[in-house]
């Protein structure tokens, strides 16, 4: 089965799912960062231009900092998110899912020199399109990856109904599907709700509206409500 998730199992048996972010969102995050930095640079250069050569030097220093230090500082101190990544809901983490630290961050940002070849990020683009976790060369060397940090869309609260025990024992993923159904039923049309509920007639012994109600009642029971 095809997915963009990189699954990591910790020694405690907890499985972490890192949802790798691809070239398109990353490119947009980079664009946002670029625009922000340009704005800061130009705004700072207007007063600095009044100071002649000294001001020029300061502007150069600022440019250097924005070019090299900005990403590292943001990634280490702002939870692995530059401002552009924050806007797009992305985050840099190490390949094992832990927060990015100084060394990997410095390495991946230094290797931008390679990824930016030949000046328009051609190498980085090719790398992100080819790599299964959409890493550019800097990410591969530093052992980091960019993931989607936003929570996946969730359904609403399960409507409260008197809980009804399941007539049969279900496996965990089947139980999860039942609860998911109850959570997301509100987003579906009534016909589709009935269609789905009718699939489980062998379980509920009901059809249509009664089946929907019973499935929601089962979900209430699975959630431990009274």
């Amino acid at each position: 089965m095809l997915d963009t998730v990189r699954e990591i199992e910790t020694p405690e048996g907890v499985s972490l799912r890192l949802r790798a972010a691809g070239a398109l969102p990353r490119a947009q995050a980079w664009m946002v960062d670029l625009l922000l930095r340009l704005v800061v640079l130009f705004v700072a250069m207007i007063p600095l231009a009044l100071f002649g050569k000294g001001g020029n030097g300061l502007a150069m220093l600022l440019m250097f900092a924005l070019l090299w230090a900005y990403s590292v500082v943001c990634e280490v101190w702002l939870d692995g998110q530059t401002l552009g990544k924050r806007a797009l809901g992305l985050r840099v983490v190490k390949a094992d899912g832990t927060p990015v630290t100084w060394l990997p961050s410095v390495v991946r940002n230094l290797l931008r020199v390679v990824d930016a070849l030949p000046g328009v990020y051609g190498v980085g683009l090719a790398s992100t399109l080819i790599d299964p976790h959409a890493r550019r060369l800097g990410d591969i060397v530093a052992g980091t990856m960019v993931i989607h940090a936003q929570e996946p869309p969730a359904g609403q609260q399960v409507p409260a109904l008197p809980a009804l025990p399941l007539p049969q024992v279900l496996a965990a993923d089947e139980q999860a599907a039942l609860v998911e159904y109850a959570e997301r039923a509100g987003q579906l049309t009534v016909q589709r709700q009935e269609e789905l509920a009718n699939l489980l007639t062998p379980l509920t012994g009901q059809r249509d509206t009664a089946a929907i109600r019973q499935l929601v009642a089962h979900a209430n029971w699975l959630l431990g409500r009274a």
Binding site: R19, A21, A23, L88, E174, Q187, L196
Partner: protein
Amino acid sequence: MELERISVVLRPRAPREALDLGAALLRANATAVWSAWFAFTLPVFVLCNALGLLLGWPWLGWVLVWWLKPLFDRLPLYVLSRAVFDRAPGWRETLRGQRRWSWRSTLAGLSWRRIDSNRALRLPLELLEGASRQQRAARWKVLRRRITGETSLLTYGCLQFELVLFLSFWLFALLLIPHEWRPESLAGFFRDDVRVAATPWILAGATVAYLAMSAIEPLYVACGFALYLNRRTQLEAWDIDLAFRRLRARLQGLGKLLGVLLLCAGALPLSARAATATVDTPKPATSNLDQVFGAPAGVGPRFAEAAAEVYRDPRFGGERTVRRWTFKYEPQPSARAQPLAFPLLARVLAAVFKGLLWLGLLGAVGALAWFAWRWRGRRRPAADETAPLPLHDMSNGEAPSPLPADLAGATRALWQARQQRAALALLYRGSVERTAQLLQLPPAVGATEADWLRQAAAINDAERAQRVVAIVRAWQFAAYAGRYPDDAAIERLLSGWPAQTGVSA
């Protein structure tokens, strides 16, 4: 459409994440997509450019190939839609399959809808669903509702990517050609070289643009298709549909194999606990302890029912594979157990060895008892030794005795009697006591050598202080390192104040 055969993981994704699913989809079916793509677009590209050359407008090929993008988009979409629900078709099959898809939407895309930022999302709706016009309009309204931002981002991003690849080629070429061949200035290059040989340069540009488009356009279509899949998953709960179908198959006892798969996947301590918890409705609290502990807990019909419920859990019972080593051939019983040659002798020998073993046991027990007795005997005086040592005892177990009046004489006597350690100990004890007297210090029981070295610094006579230091050092070397001074050094220590009180120095 048979949803069971889908080959991507369906789950609610944010639209932006769905874009990445498109990239993964394309990566997984790259061969099929690009073989079909080039099989169709390469001839078209050649034809367009030939037409441009014939008409004398070399730029026409470039523009035409760009304009025909909506036509080319059909190929990746065909491959990907088949790959997701079935298997990736070959390029011949893909080209043949185009005939079955309607051309109306493609014509619209090539004419009045050519500049449409939602093309990637519109394609699957129009080509895969094939609904009537009114229905399509209504569906389009629903489908695009929450993802217009992402479709625009997709179009804009892919445009950017194409530009990046196009520029990358030229910039790399600029980086890699030798310095002598480089033009003096970019403006001059365009003014002179390009204008002189315009047609070859335009054809080269068209080729590079075509290659960049070939790399990115399938991605554009794939991402649009993934957006579409995600939106339909959201609207129609495809993932739940799939899960319910699997459950239904299991319940109906049809999907035995599926059951085994679920069995492997299902980890559900939760369900077992929840089930027993509700079967045993909470009883009123019993105050009588006998009742609580005496009653055979959980034996009864209700318990049996709960247990049966637990055993119905797919994790119990069923099939599972166990791997273990077994002998390839049955091991033969060893041929050792032969009848003995001399039974009488053997029996006598056995009796003798048995007796020896018993003797050995007796010996061991006796030795243990003897050791125990000896240990008891040893332990007694040792117990006395653990009594707290007198604090002033600096010689070997010698009771603290008042200092002899003639400290030097006593020390010298001990030294000459070869009791060097005792002599130095006496000298040390005497000298520190006299130092304390001299400095009028309170009797310091716990004072260490280091303390006395510090105190010696307080003596206002340098020679005396030096001698006290020398005595303490000599004692330290003797006590801790077993290094004793020679006779001359002892005599130097014994001359003068701490050892000889009568002498002034």
